[in-house]
Symmetry: D3
Subunit: 164 residues, 6 copies
């Protein structure tokens, strides 16, 4: 558990997870966990007749497992605030192996919390052919070493740095 | 499996799921499903020392189960495209009971697919005190009965109806 | 949750579930859930040497999942009383896809509860070749709008309507 | 794996399983396994408002686990044929401990298989107060050492021994 | 539950379990149970590039399931004390079928408990080719009918019988 | 995935895991995973009558989860060879929180593999009162940067460094 303050995040820095093969057991588990037994996920006969040609993983499965793959290092100063621009780009089929690349895309002051800042971390979940299957901007709220706008009151709230 | 075309969605219409109690077993299952064993979710001793006073559900657990609660009716003409403005508003503790309210907030033409349109369905996951714990705009791509902009070419792409 | 009173059930009416593929993960889960690790279910080497030529699903797995497939609509006026003539007709192998057809076969007064009646719902679980793998008569106790035999005391108890 | 032929079953003989506490985790697992997320089983708020005062186990859970409790000894000459008179007698609540008593109630010739006979084994699943929660007559098809009616053709089919 | 006292164990006596096929679902379950998602166990792409050519079961999976296979008979006078010489001899791949052979190798007085003795039970977990995949000496503490060294004080502690 | 060669392990160095609360769901999962449904683990009524006063975790559960807690960093040069002196020191009850401390206790040449060495890592699994519940010496085989005994043939095999 290594503490990283808001100030220490660098725009453009990246991390990448290990891989994990999405199995039939994962689909059964996710259907049972969520109660979503739609035939696209659990009926092989039906699924074969769709354009995908087989059962596809639930969108929430790909998100949950893909984000979970990053959960190796804990930053005690950070908590998850939400997501923007989450898109299910390609289907994940049984047997596909996914891993997650995360890039710090932007840093923003938080309008309400002077002692925190927002980190925008783009998460790209890719398959074994390096094709993006899910993309989302994860907004993480991270504690600052020193409150925003200490010496220059008012200025802090409007400061936004972004990777273009 | 009742087919509902894009044209038949009404802005402002709502649906609400049954309730489901989030159990310790759900947290253990989600940790094991995703590999996220952060102490906030699985270490009661640590969790008691946090401002929440106990283990909290993973954000992806609340999303997955909350969205899954809506998975009772299938619209074969619809598929999930993504999410916007997903926010973890309040923690979900072991023993909380959640249910999901969904409201059609907007309808949009899709820039690339003339035979589909986008439905913006706001999903509010609430707890037993009717407090919102998670909110997200679910973007669903739904097939049209008749392609957009047939008689008035060009016009279709820019049409956006929205619940203000 | 739509309430359907005893009087509103029609003999001969039917409903049919979605399909679900029975996976190796389902067999492992059911063995672990019930503690039944008989080699017919979990030892592929042994199972190959049997007339079935492979691992077969537990009878209680087929029943539990098959009946579960019908659990999409809830009738709050109904509860499960029991089963008659439950038969394991054919084995279900890993990879088979089952779905459930239910037909109202009979309606009976209940000897003890004047405000309820018994619905006999025949459940046929079939595989992807439309072969029946399990059949059972589900007895459901359903509330009446008006108690049985109100105007004609004594008559109610003996009334039985049945699909021949 | 000890082989017991049809002839060696004695009417009136009994066996009793160990006990097993039905946990919240079991209900979550069974809901996920079967897709039956009815609020009686998974919504504590709703369940508290019912006459039972809390979440109750699925009928198929009690049957599956209760019968599974007997799965310690395997008779390779026996297979499960079906059930009669299966009744859900009392609810099983989270925290109840069940065990299963089985009594050989009858032996019958099988009309189609001369080399097998039917064993009727009454299964009573009881709770920690020794109250019956589920009862069912399990019909097991068991191989004979010598085919039925060998010396007295015709007689075998009609022979039925029963515990009154 | 048959009670077997320390005195009744015979050096050289053996027992053997049923078989169980280790499935992809078992690996997913064990990863989720333990939090060990190392790519050797859950990333098929990575695993194919290793000398094993595929995903291998966790060592603790093989031990847990292999020892669990022996858990059919309970001796209420015995409890598990620990293991010696536990070795992971060969990898277990998805689809391998394991079973466990146990041999009483030795009996020892316990230095602290006069009313118990130690049973050394060698557990060999073998695959479908009868190759040992894991071996371990299970030390079980078993109650005696009569305390050790009653008539000959001092002698008991040093008595060790062993299968050479 | 950071590679650490045999030469870079330092006797006396330690690492410590996060904590994890052992839940009722974990016991149910482990019973189902292994098939060990002994009443000490799954029958609360029985367990209350034992000296422990409640259900205790399986020994293999404590080992699997405790060792799994260390599975955050992967050393691609290391694989698990086995365990010595594994002892179940204290029971783990539902609700206990465990974490694992590991100390490099010794380094040994391997008699057969000149390019590997053995690391003896003592694993102490402790509960929330810092009491040891399980201790074991994990033997890990780790690749060397340079094969043992290159310049002084014969000497390498007998070199053993140990923390006394």
């Amino acid at each position: 558990m290594e503490a990283t303050a808001f100030e220490d995040y660098t725009i453009g820095s990246t991390r990448e997870s290990f891989g994990r093969t999405i199995t039939e057991a994962d689909l059964v588990a996710h259907a049972g966990h969520t109660g979503d037994f739609f035939p696209h996920h659990v009926d092989e006969e039906f699924a074969r007749s769709t354009p995908f040609g087989g059962r596809i993983a639930h969108g929430t499965l790909v998100l949950s497992v893909g984000i979970g793959l990053l959960a190796r290092e804990i930053n005690p100063l950070s908590f998850s605030y939400g997501y923007e621009r989450l898109r299910f780009v390609r289907p994940v089929m049984i047997g596909d192996t996914i891993r997650t690349r995360a890039t710090i895309m932007g840093k923003q002051d938080d309008p309400k919390r002077m002692d925190h800042g927002r980190i925008i971390e783009r998460c790209e979940i890719v398959n074994q052919r390096n094709e993006v299957v899910l993309v989302a901007d994860h907004i993480r709220m991270v504690q600052r070493r020193t409150p925003a706008g200490g010496s220059q009151p008012g200025a802090a709230q409007s400061r936004i740095d972004q990777l273009s």
